[in-house]
Symmetry: C2
Subunit: 393 residues, 2 copies
C-alpha cells in the first residue's frame, strides 16, 4: 500500500486497464461466431504490427513455443542453419535447432555486441549449404538490438531464410517484416503487446511458406501449414487461448489508435531517458551502440550485487527489475521499460536503482540524474527515432 | 440484453466471477517471489484434484499440447501403443502417436459405446510388444465415459502404461489417478476447472517417470523431465501463462472449499437431470450406459438439423450448445453442463433445446419435461453417485 508495485522487467509488462477488463470477460466458445469475429478483427491489426501482408497466426504457447514451431516448420533434420549467439536467447535458437536435428554454425558474440551484416555474409559464404539464419531482433538477455534490416539485405537475394525472434521487439521498436525481407517473424504476448504470457504470434514470408511445404514437419502441435488453413476461416487448429485473444483485440485497437510511429517514438524516448539517467549516475551501459529499446542493461560496478539492489528497490520503492541471466546474474541489472510503461514509471525506476545501489554499499553520482533523464526524454520525443535502432548515439 | 448468454457447450465453460477477477489482475513477474507463491500454492490443490501424490505440471498450451507432450515423453519412435478410438479425440491420440513415429493398434468403437476391459486385455494379449494404452476418460465428441478404473486393473500388473486424456473429465467426474493406477493423467483449463483455455496440466506416475527417462524425447518445448525439475522450485521451464495460473489458484480454492465429492455429486445430478429431460421430450441419448458427466449427446430425430436448432436456441433463448463433430455434425447435438453451470442453466438449456427442435420443424413431446428434469436432479443429489460413472442407469 505504501508503494505502488511497478513492474520494470523485460516482460511481462504491466497491463492497461482496458486490456485487463477484456481479460476478465466471460467465455465465448472458440468455434462460434462471437469468437470468429474476434479472430477476423485482429488480423488487420496484427498485419499492421508485423508490417506484413501475410497472415499472422496466433498459437497457444510461450514465445519459445513459437521459436520451436518456426524451426520445425522451416528446416528438415540434417540441414544447416547459422545461429547468431549473442546471449541466452541466441543459445536457445541453437538448442532448439539441435533438438530438431539440425547442424548449426554459430556466430559467438561478446555480451553487449550486435552481429554485423559482414559477419553473416562471411559465414554464409563459408558454408553455402546453410539454409537459414536464426537471430533475435532484440537479445533480451543483454539488451542488444541486432541489425535485422541489414541482415535482410544479405539474405534477400539468396536461398537463405531470415528467421527473427521478435519477442522483445515487436511493438517496441521497428521491425517491418516485408520491408526488411524477414522470412519469419514471431513474438509473445507479454512484451510490447501489454498482455499476460501464453499467446505467441508468428508470420512467414511467401518463400518461407514454400519452404514449410517442402520441410514436411513431423511436429503435431506446431503445424503452421494446418494452422494457416484454419486461420483463413478465422479459426485456430486447436483450442485457442480465448481470453488472451480478446485482450489482444483491445491491445491492437490501442496500437491502431495511437499509431505505431507514436509508440516507437515513446519507446525510443524512454530508452534514451534511461540511458541518460544511468550515465548521469556514473554507471556503465552494457550495449554501447545497437541497444534494445524498452530494456536497458547495466553493468554494475565491481563488488555490487544485483540481488541486493533488486531487493532494496522492490522492498523500499515497490520497483521490480531483473538481474542478469546465467553468468551475469549478479553483475548485471536489466531495467525494463517496454509495453505499458511511461516516463513517470521510468523516473521511479531510476530513483529505486540509485537507492538500491547506494544502500547496498555501492556508489552513485548524486546530482541531477532525474533531471538529466527527463531532458533526454523530451529531446528524444521531439527529435524522433531512426528506424534501424540505437546505433546513432 | 433480452436473454442472458448461457454457454452450454463441452468447454469452454462460463467463468465464476472470482476467477474473472483473478484473470484481470495486473501482471506479476514469472520469475519473482509473488509468482513462486502462486506456483507453490496451487500444487496441493492440483494433487487433490488429480488424486495423486505426484507433482502436477502446468504447461502453456491447449489440451492437445499436453496429449502430444505425453506421447513424446513416454514412447520412442518405433514402439507400439494401443489406441481406444471411440470418437474424434480417440482419433487424435492415433494421429499424435503416428506423428511421433509410433506403431498403433486401434480398438474401433461404435459411436456411443465405451471400451471394455476385456477388449483391452485381449488386444494386449495379442500384441505383447504394446507399451501403452491411450484412452480418453471422457470422449468429448460422443459423450462416452470409458471405464478407466477397470482399464487400470488390466494394465497395473503389466509393463503397459495407461495414458488418460482427462480433458473433459478432471473436475467433472472421478478419475483418481493413483487409486485407479493411471500412469499419465492430463487436462485442459477450460472444462471442469472453469478457466479460459491456454493452460494444460499433466501428471505422471512413478513408473511413467522411469519410462520418460528411458524414452529420451527430442521434443524441445514439451520436455516434462526438465519441467518437473523446474516445478520442484515452483517455476516453469519457459514463461508461464501467469494470469491463467492466478485464475487456477482461485478455481482450486473453490474446489477445496466445496470439496470434490460435492462437485461430483452436483455434476452427476445435472447429468441425470439432462438425461431425464431429454428422454421426457422423446429424444434419443447417444450413450445408453457409460455416459460422460457434464455433457449429454443427443441423437436427433430423422430430418432434424442441429445447425438450425442451435441457431434458434442461441438467437431466441441466448443458449449456446454444440452440434456433433465430423460425420455427426448435423445429426447430433451436444448439451454441455460441466464447469460453472448449475441446474437453472440446465433448465434454460432444456427449454431452448425443445424450442429449437419444434421451431425448426421437428417434434418433441410436450408435458412435464422440465419438472421431470428437476425431479431427476433432486433424486440424484439425494442418492449420490457411483465413482465409476454412468453405467448404473
Amino acid at each position: 500500500m505504501l508503494n505502488k508495485p511497478r513492474l520494470l522487467t523485460p516482460g511481462p509488462t504491466p497491463l492497461p486497464e482496458e486490456v485487463r477488463l477484456a481479460l476478465s470477460r466471460d467465455m465465448v466458445h472458440h468455434r462460434k461466431q462471437d469468437f470468429v469475429r474476434v479472430m477476423e478483427g485482429i488480423q488487420p491489426g496484427l498485419q499492421y504490427l508485423f508490417g506484413t501482408s501475410q497472415q499472422v497466426l496466433p498459437l497457444s504457447c510461450s514465445g519459445t513455443g513459437a521459436m520451436y514451431a518456426a524451426v520445425c516448420m522451416l528446416f528438415s533434420p540434417g540441414e544447416r542453419v547459422l545461429v547468431v549467439e549473442g546471449g541466452k536467447f541466441g543459445e536457445r535458437w541453437r538448442e532448439i535447432a539441435t533438438a530438431h536435428g539440425l547442424e548449426t554454425t554459430s556466430i559467438q558474440l561478446e555480451p553487449g555486441r550486435a552481429v554485423s551484416a559482414e559477419q553473416v555474409r562471411t559465414a554464409l559464404a563459408a558454408r553455402p549449404e546453410i539454409r537459414g539464419v536464426l537471430v533475435q531482433a532484440s537479445e533480451t538477455s543483454t539488451g542488444v538490438l541486432h541489425p535485422v534490416r541489414e541482415l535482410g539485405e544479405v539474405t534477400a537475394g539468396t536461398d537463405v531464410l531470415l528467421v527473427v525472434d521478435g519477442i522483445s521487439a515487436v511493438g517496441v521498436s521497428p521491425c517491418p517484416m516485408d520491408a526488411w525481407n524477414v522470412d519469419c517473424l514471431l513474438t509473445g504476448s507479454q512484451k510490447g503487446l501489454m498482455l499476460p504470457p501464453g499467446l505467441a504470434l508468428v508470420s512467414l514470408s511467401s518463400r518461407a511458406w514454400d519452404r514449410a511445404r517442402e520441410a514436411h514437419s513431423g511436429n503435431f502441435y506446431f503445424n503452421l501449414l494446418a494452422e494457416k488453413e484454419k486461420n483463413a476461416g478465422n479459426q485456430t487448429l486447436f483450442t485457442s487461448p480465448v481470453n488472451l485473444l480478446q485482450g489482444l483485440a483491445v491491445s491492437l485497437e490501442m496500437f491502431h489508435r495511437e499509431t505505431l510511429e507514436a509508440v516507437y517514438r515513446k519507446q525510443w524516448a524512454m530508452t534514451r531517458m534511461v540511458r541518460a539517467g544511468v550515465r548521469s549516475l556514473g554507471l556503465e551501459l552494457l550495449a554501447k551502440t545497437h541497444f534494445t529499446w524498452g530494456l536497458t542493461s547495466i553493468t554494475l560496478p565491481e563488488g555490487a550485487d544485483s540481488g541486493r539492489i533488486l531487493k532494496i528497490a522492490a522492498e523500499s520503492c515497490g520497483v521490480i527489475m531483473s538481474g542478469g541471466q546465467g553468468a551475469w546474474k549478479k553483475t548485471m541489472l536489466r531495467f525494463g521499460h517496454m509495453g505499458h510503461v511511461d516516463w513517470s514509471d521510468v523516473l521511479a525506476g531510476l530513483y529505486a536503482l540509485r537507492k538500491g545501489l547506494v544502500e547496498s554499499g555501492g556508489h552513485a553520482a548524486s546530482g541531477t540524474y532525474l533531471e538529466d533523464a527527463m531532458e533526454a526524454y523530451e529531446d528524444a520525443l521531439k527529435n524522433g527515432y531512426a528506424e534501424e535502432g540505437g546505433d546513432n548515439e
